[in-house]
Amino acid sequence: MELTGAEIVVQALKDEGVEYVWGYPGGAVLHIYDAIFKQNDVRHILVRHEQAAAHAADGYARATGKPGVVLVTSGPGATNAVTGIATAFMDSIPMVVLTGQVPTPVIGSDAFQEVDTVGITRPCVKHNFLVKRVEDIAETIKKAFYIATTGRPGPVVVDIPKDVTDPNVRIPYEYPQKIEMRSYNPVERGHLGQIRKAVDLMMAAERPVVYTGGGVVLGDGSAELTELVRRLNFPITQTLMGLGAYPATDRQFLGMLGMHGTYEANMAMHEADVLIAIGARFDDRVTGKIASFCPNARIIHIDVDPASISKTVRVDVPIVGQVKSVLADMLRLIDELSCEPNAEALARWWARIGAWRDVECLAYDHSDEVIKPQFAIETLYKVTRDRDFYLTSDVGQHQMFAAQFYPFDKPRRWINSGGLGTMGFGVPSAMGVKQAFPEADVGVVTGEASVQMCIQELATCSQYNLPLKIFLLNNGYMGMVRQWQEFFYDGRYSHSYVDALPDFCKLAESYGHVGMRIEKPADLEDAYREAFGMKDRLVFLDVVIDPEENVYPMIEAGKGHHEMHMSPHLSSERELA
């Protein structure tokens, strides 16, 4: 088979099993767009901004576990995609981004729409390539997918100069079946001796806590994790990225930990004697002040990336490997040794945790007058709990309320930007999810500030008939910013008021969607049900909420887990508990 470079790009995607490519055309990729036009296997979704292409591919990857694919042109196409690439990088999302580049003879001459894409993206990709010869396209794309999806996943950029896809040059095509790279050998299995050490430590533990993160979701380790935690009767807490890997409605789940984590999760961390960290990276939003992090705990850490281990917090038993295989080995070992955890000590531990739970740190003041954001999320859960439901989020208070008040029972159902915290992520990532699961309900929780950062994608949703349900928790503020200004800047709300808001209902309608504005708590549930009733329509729900609600509990940056700000709703006595 003799193909042009452009045809090779498309054929390689087919051979890789790619269903969708999110992209936006331009001069440097026109040959590739022509090759896309001539076939029907790889479907191209035309977004309205390259950032959204990356977020959509990212959402698809998070929901399916398969790599997302992006195609953009050189120069501004590539730079617009950078925010989306960095978002995927921070959360370790497998993604392959094809960028057009100016023809090789003019690279470096400040040619029209030239930027050094490889240079610009280097710090925010797992790896990147500049393809200089048509003969190298197939192998490079193979490598890109291999690197993106193995080990600790991440985005890979493949920069393709226009002359490399010249329609007049044909070469024989063969897609490599397998690729080996001497410089890249990701670890699979964990070291059995280390796993043994971990098991010994766990069995001796009196106050154990399992702390898991995005790695369990990424590595499909949910079943093994659930089995292990249930068998040992250990308490478990999860990061923002880990939610859903263990069923949140289960008795042993303490809720999220960290800055906006629950009282019981953070107190348990603070008092633990053995911490079992699984696919989590000890982020500063989780650890708070390092010096007072888990002061009494011996730490076991399972992670596929050696560089995640002892990066910010020294650990005692490092285990490098894929969560799934390490946890399976751990379960097998526990069976073989027929060892049991310390039941007596655990009973005492659960009693202490029970007392922390009784504080009810997430309690809030109900209102019949104004919709509380917490109530808006609780109602969403009530309406969707029995549906096949995915929820994506933007960034801000609404994101935290969703994490706290929507109990996710399955992995890959909660899709949000944690590491970069990218406003604008919500709507486009939901497009990717909906594309992957057309039969499922896909919701977006967002804020009036965040949603405007990728609002143009409402057009993409009309064009491809993506009936998302968008829950805009409209407080008229950049609520998360306002909260910090209230706490740390004596209420000087510098530029955190979102003025001149559009009429979101009309805006949605102008794109051909349905808009609904909800102002009273009593109307909320019916409105939600009505929205989900419109199976084939995108419904934009402008939910007017209490403008000055805060997210509690909160640990200030640089404070310890035991130094939480609690809701003023709770008595000050309890605050000191």
Partner: protein, 165 residues
């Protein structure tokens, strides 16, 4: 602590900037860095000198290993090793000074590789301390120009940094 790290690197465009970019992005310091192809033209060997406490050095090594272009890496400071640095130094050499400088260069096993009526260019190898000592031994205004390669390192004895070990 000062560490000298040897790296086998894919000999590809951009590999060097991945390493230097890593150091600047993560705020690690580089004291010196030298790189050149090896006897296998697909591989380059880099010698990098850095400083940091134990935790930082561990992270530097892990982060370097994580770079796709890094094939292999060894921290030479962990064992006995040899370091050599090349210096070329151009010095004023006039009248009676010419003999004096020649003698000093001989003591340090330097060789004079270029001569003009009023200057010498001396080539000298050794570890960094020796080169520093030579510079210190020259009188202040004698030096016209110096260029140093930064250290190269290799393990003593049978230990080696190659693809096969």
């Amino acid at each position: 602590m000062r560490h000298i790290i040897s790296i086998l690197l894919e000999n590809e465009a951009g590999a060097l900037s991945r390493v230097s970019g890593l150091f600047s992005a993560r705020g690690y310091n580089i004291e010196s860095l030298t790189v050149a192809p090896t006897e296998d033209p697909t591989l380059s060997r880099m010698t990098l000198v850095t400083r940091g406490d134990e935790n930082i050095i561990e992270q530097i090594k892990k982060q370097l290993n994580k770079l796709i272009d890094v094939v292999k890496l060894v921290d030479l400071s962990e064992g006995p090793h040899i370091e050599r640095e090349l210096m070329m130094i151009k010095v004023r050499a006039e009248g009676a000074m010419r003999e004096e400088i020649k003698r000093l260069s001989d003591i340090f096993r330097g060789s004079i590789i270029d001569v003009t009526a009023n200057s010498f260019t001396i080539e000298m190898t050794g570890d960094g301390n020796k080169l520093d000592a030579f510079i210190a031994a020259l009188e202040g205004d004698t030096i016209i120009e110096t260029v140093r390669s930064g250290p190269l390192g290799i393990a003593r004895g049978g230990r080696r940094l190659t693809l096969t070990t």
